[in-house]
């Protein structure tokens, strides 16, 4: 599903974010990416949807050479991915249902499928009753669930989440993690950068630890491995 080989990234400022990274993630895996702040997690995540290009190395997503894509082909790569951020990134002037439908509308899905599919994913994240509410009327956990619904509405091969529980309390985080587990059970690959020790230790999934741009640890049933303060 994801293959990175010899990937390095040096920013124009001279800062080195990643050094010679080799990663292979198989379809259906659930992978945590952990490490101290500034270790290169964000760069790693952003490379997956070609927000950041590596200085050297190769990246393949579902067999597609991400780096050889022309700019007008990038949207089609992103349609295979569901991307989730710490700050939810919802449109405040649209309802929950409209926010989710937005992801289908911009890839020009047939109109008659949109309503049905939106109802389906809202059911999955447990927000069916909130469909007509605006994001401002929802709690943080609910907003993140809307973002998850939007990320999976187009049936992506891979869900990429950058600190999805970073703004949430432990109880809400657990709910969110359970939704990710649910999505993962349906065969969707999940790659999640996180600082959330409790969740990583609880989930017992593969953990890749990045420090100083290197992969220092890659364990099948890993733990967070850092002090919570970090």
């Amino acid at each position: 599903m994801l293959l990175m080989s010899g990937v390095s990234k040096t920013y124009p400022s001279g800062a080195v974010a990643l050094r010679n990274i080799d990663v292979h993630i198989k379809p259906g895996e659930f992978v945590f990416v952990v490490g101290p702040s500034g270790a290169g997690k964000s760069t790693f995540i952003k490379m997956l949807f070609r927000e950041v290009l590596p200085t050297t190395g190769k990246i393949f997503v579902d067999g597609v050479d991400v780096l050889s894509l022309k700019p007008n082909e990038v949207p089609y790569l992103r349609r295979q991915l569901g991307i989730i951020f710490q700050d939810y990134r919802l449109l405040p002037d649209r309802t929950v249902a409209e926010n989710v439908a937005f992801a289908m509308r911009v890839i020009e899905s047939p109109a008659n499928q949109i309503d049905k599919r939106v109802a389906e994913v809202l059911e999955l994240v447990g927000l069916r009753s909130r469909a007509e509410n605006y994001p401002g009327e929802l709690s943080g956990g609910e907003q993140q669930r809307v973002a998850i619904a939007r990320a999976i509405v187009n049936d992506p091969l891979m869900v990429i989440a950058d600190e999805p529980t970073g703004n949430l309390d432990p109880e809400t985080s657990l709910e969110i993690m359970n939704i990710f587990s649910e999505i993962n059970k349906n065969g969707t690959t999940i790659i999640m950068a996180t600082h959330d020790k409790t969740m990583v230790d609880y989930m017992q999934k593969r953990v890749i630890a990045i420090e100083d741009g290197y992969i220092v640890r890659d364990e099948v049933k890993g733990v967070y491995g850092y002090d919570p303060e970090e």
């Binding site: 949207p75 449109l91 937005f102 509308r105 020009e108 939007r150 187009n154």
Partner: protein, 295 residues
């Protein structure tokens, strides 16, 4: 592009204009003003050209006789004129007739004549009709050699002066219009930039969920085009009003002045302005989108 997407684009365009009412209003007004100036210059240049063409195609020479000429000399001159090659008709206009014609032309302003007192400054003249306008150039020197002839006037002389005028109008108009077009382009691209900025969150989400660049661009492009289009329509409406008013004025005071008939001329002019306005709108948006959307 699906039908649903088209509806979406149109909806987004109108929403965006509504959200940025003030800037949209400024953009539309600038387009309208610029195109109005462009249109006025076009009206002038085209009418001057038209007048030049009209005069060039005149097949008439006016022959003015010396003052105090004898009747037998007049008759001799008329005979000679009638005998010249290509001349089809010679009409004599006496001093009295010439004065009457002028009185008619003056219309309401007949009081101006009071200054002349009893004098009649108009000489006796002949209107000489020729079969082809090309003949006139050769004919005029011949006519001027006839005894008793003061001078012979024909359209081409005026035409040459007129060409000078249209040249100045054209160059001046071109410079002014270019400047205005650049200003319009700048204003529209600025408006679109503000629109893009106001919607940057939406745009970034669109990029993450895999919207194509054209899907993101269309609403902004349409917005620019619509502003250009509306500006052009407003400019055209003003221009049509101005031209019709002018025509009315000229027909009642300077009836001999050949204005281009309003239809279909104004129709073409409107289409032309709308084309330019829409194009400037699209170009202005494109500049902004390239610079600020980075899609």
């Amino acid at each position: 592009m699906t039908l649903r997407s088209k509806n979406y684009f149109v909806k987004e365009t109108f929403n965006s204009i509504k959200r940025n009412q003030l800037m949209s209003f400024a953009s539309i007004s600038t387009v309208a003003l610029s195109l109005l100036v462009l249109g006025l210059f076009l009206l002038m240049v085209l009418n001057a050209n038209n007048l030049a063409q009209y005069l060039e195609n005149q097949v008439q020479v006016t022959v003015y006789m010396q003052d105090g000429i004898k009747d037998n000399q007049v008759q001799a001159a008329q005979k000679s004129l009638e005998g010249m090659p290509g001349v089809i008709k010679v009409t004599k206009i006496t001093k009295v007739e010439a004065l009457d014609r002028f009185k008619q032309r003056l219309g309401d302003q007949i009081r101006l004549l009071d200054a002349l007192g009893e004098d009649n400054p108009f000489p006796l003249s002949f209107d000489v009709q020729v079969d082809q306008p090309e003949r006139i150039r050769a004919l005029v020197p011949e006519i001027e050699k006839l005894p008793g002839v003061e001078t012979a006037k024909f359209g081409r002389e005026v035409v040459e002066h007129l060409f000078q005028l249209t040249k100045i109008l054209r160059i001046g108009g071109l410079i002014l219009v270019t400047l205005l077009a650049v200003a319009t382009l700048f204003i529209i691209s600025n408006t679109i930039r503000i629109t893009v900025f106001a919607r940057r969150r939406e745009v970034s989400i669109m990029k993450y969920v895999g919207a194509t660049n054209w899907f993101i661009r269309w609403p902004f492009l349409l917005e620019g085009m619509l502003m250009g289009f509306l500006g052009a329509v407003i400019a055209s409406l003003f221009l049509i009003q101005i031209y019709l008013m002018l025509q009315n004025k000229i027909y009642t005071t300077l009836a001999f002045f050949p204005l281009i008939p309003s239809w279909p001329f104004l129709g073409y002019l409107t289409l032309f302005l709308i084309g330019i306005g829409t194009f400037i709108g699209a170009a202005g948006s494109s500049i902004s989108l390239r610079k600020f959307l980075d899609v």
